[in-house]
Symmetry: C2
Subunit: 463 residues, 2 copies
Amino acid sequence: MPEEITTMDIEAVAFAINSHDKQAFLTAVEDVHHADLASIYEDINGDERTFFTAHIGPNKFSQILPELPDTLIESSLERFEPNQQKNILSALLDDDRADILQDVSSEARHRYLALLHPEDMETTCSLMRYEEDTAGGRMTTQAAKVTLGMTVKQALDVLRKDKNSTESLARIYLVDEEGRLKGKIRLRELAFSAWDVLVDELMEEVELSILATTDQEEAAQMFTKYDMTLLPVVDEYSRLLGVITHDDILEILEEESTEDIEKMSGIAGEQSEESYLNTRIITHFKRRFPWLLVLALLAISSCYVMLRFEHVLNSVYLLALYLPMVVAAGGNTGGQAATMVIRAMSLGELEAGSTVKVIIKELSLGLLLGVFLGGCIALVTFFILPVFDPPLAGITISAFALAASVALAAQITTSTLTGALLPLGARAINLDPAVVAAPAITTLVDISGMIIYFTATKAILSL
Amino acid sequence: MPEEITTMDIEAVAFAINSHDKQAFLTAVEDVHHADLASIYEDINGDERTFFTAHIGPNKFSQILPELPDTLIESSLERFEPNQQKNILSALLDDDRADILQDVSSEARHRYLALLHPEDMETTCSLMRYEEDTAGGRMTTQAAKVTLGMTVKQALDVLRKDKNSTESLARIYLVDEEGRLKGKIRLRELAFSAWDVLVDELMEEVELSILATTDQEEAAQMFTKYDMTLLPVVDEYSRLLGVITHDDILEILEEESTEDIEKMSGIAGEQSEESYLNTRIITHFKRRFPWLLVLALLAISSCYVMLRFEHVLNSVYLLALYLPMVVAAGGNTGGQAATMVIRAMSLGELEAGSTVKVIIKELSLGLLLGVFLGGCIALVTFFILPVFDPPLAGITISAFALAASVALAAQITTSTLTGALLPLGARAINLDPAVVAAPAITTLVDISGMIIYFTATKAILSL
């Protein structure tokens, strides 16, 4: 029976650390995945971390290091001696190593780079040239690569030598003498073919590759759309630089979704690499406060709009009752429209030319939602409001029901359209669509909602 | 140079369909990926679809079919003759075939099943037993599998025979005579080993497997956490049933993120399989209207709270000015807290026991946010409000600034805690956390906000 990773094993590690029992610790870590060991390391205190790094050994720690949040990278590496640091850094995959060196101070970066074998140092520096969120910043250079003109036997010999350093053998790439990507072979074809066959005969076409400078989100969209395993990364001369593997894509997708979700709720700044519970309160505070303040100030200024309609409110007090509902309904419908459009953009469904289609769609939808919601509210007002015996100030319930539902319908239609157009507008001027969505919509819709509400009811009730 | 998929190729297909040019169509589709052909099919009208299916041929169409939205599956299959349907269905991967048969009418399902080879029919029926959103519903049975006791040569022979039907050879699983999962081998180990070695010697431990009845989200979390390529799916006797591949995981992650995002914006019901633009307006309407109506009705009832404080509002009209801001700030901060907690739950960071930690964290954060935001608003009120010369009705600006900021701080603290606790509470009673979040918070916070605001200001201003 396969051995499962259980919470019991994880607790055994935590217990051994807690009781500083070296022997139990070394036995317990054997059964635990390095991703879980990283979570454990994140959760323990400084004293326990000293125990952890003193006994885990550089080899095992090199597996744990890439799973740690950015903020813990340097401090954890500094717990080791220089020659242990060298072992840890040398054992890393080259893309992980480049990522890690980008997350430490520049003083430490120089010190760590100097520890590396010259060849590793060169690869690492070349990877660090690419921004972290581009295809080049995500790729590993350890692609399985053979040259045109080799036999199956020669190819297998080359690959066998690289066996431990190439991250994935699921696709083997064929390059010419200049290193330009020419095609691919599957390992299964090599394994099942006669040894004297030329690799050229087994070559398949490479349909998709990506430029190293392209945004990582595009790589993720290609993976999802085309069900890929590996994506070759090339430079402008179509020379093969490396590959992006599917585990990188999982990380990208998770990051991008979290980013969208957080921005849409008005949470600012960079995502925390640490888990929710381990992120410090001050970090949470810094990400949540800015938008809260901006929105509160905007909300106050929107209140001054009410001052202008003071006489209307004073004459028909009933109107104040429905104002929050109209404003909130606008915010809700605008938020829905924005969500649909932002998600469609994230999934690559909306090209630049589809603005008109979106406008037609959301305008019809806004009208439909407005008419139905207005109708429901009119009925509720007509039949249920009298029960509460509100102060009517000379107008009839049916006139009020009509006025409120017309105002509501107008507000819903406007804010559906606003919600859909804001993200498109943001993209057009190169702003992140997600960040303008919820906060900007709330405010715009609040202000427009009040103006629409008062203008419509004033006209209908001839105040 | 590798051939890239370009929009030009895609446009060539669209143009050929439009001009009903069979020869151009057949040439153009050669260069286009089946995922793009599916998008094209989705976008064209019925007449053009007839042309498309008449000329594409069953072989090519079997690649396109799994990429089509659910709603187009049956109608597109019905454009083919029964023996073409048989070819299309037989050429599908078994997990795709099971998914497709779950999306057609029961009449069509029986007809299609009867076309299949008995063996395929049996596999398909066994896959259809699992819910679509479980590990079993997502797996393919086409795992590469060899039995303990074979030599490398025997294993390669078995695998060569299955070469075209096994979806992934990246991991080869070892089972005993009862089919129980015992370990795994890499194809590279087989390819690089002598032919008379026993596979048992090359076996590695399988650290992770999943029960067929487990929710798909758990499979996705395992993939992301442990950087996996394939996840073996077993039954309760640990017999190997199949594998989940990384492209299934990409789909699951995309679905689950979209679902979270949509529910948090109060969008109800099942996600549309079609793209945003191709989804019909009535479908959009049905998903957006229910929450809008419920929230509007709740908002109206919250307005009756205001009726109870009519005398306060009448005596200090200024209070009405700040009410929307206090309510909105509560909604914003509650939404932020809910987003953070829901996302942390989706990423598997919050176990059932962490409620107390969340309460402590969000309570401190709420206090911090409340005090700072209240302070900022007090300053703004004290220095800027007098400029607008508002009707003061006998109270001083500083008393009003104090009252408003205390009320705001109380509202922020309460709603931060409410926002964080609602998703946790929902999970505790087995509701989806995302669905209670935004809509429920808006309403709760609206009502509590008004009560807090009026109670606090009344007390401080001794009205």
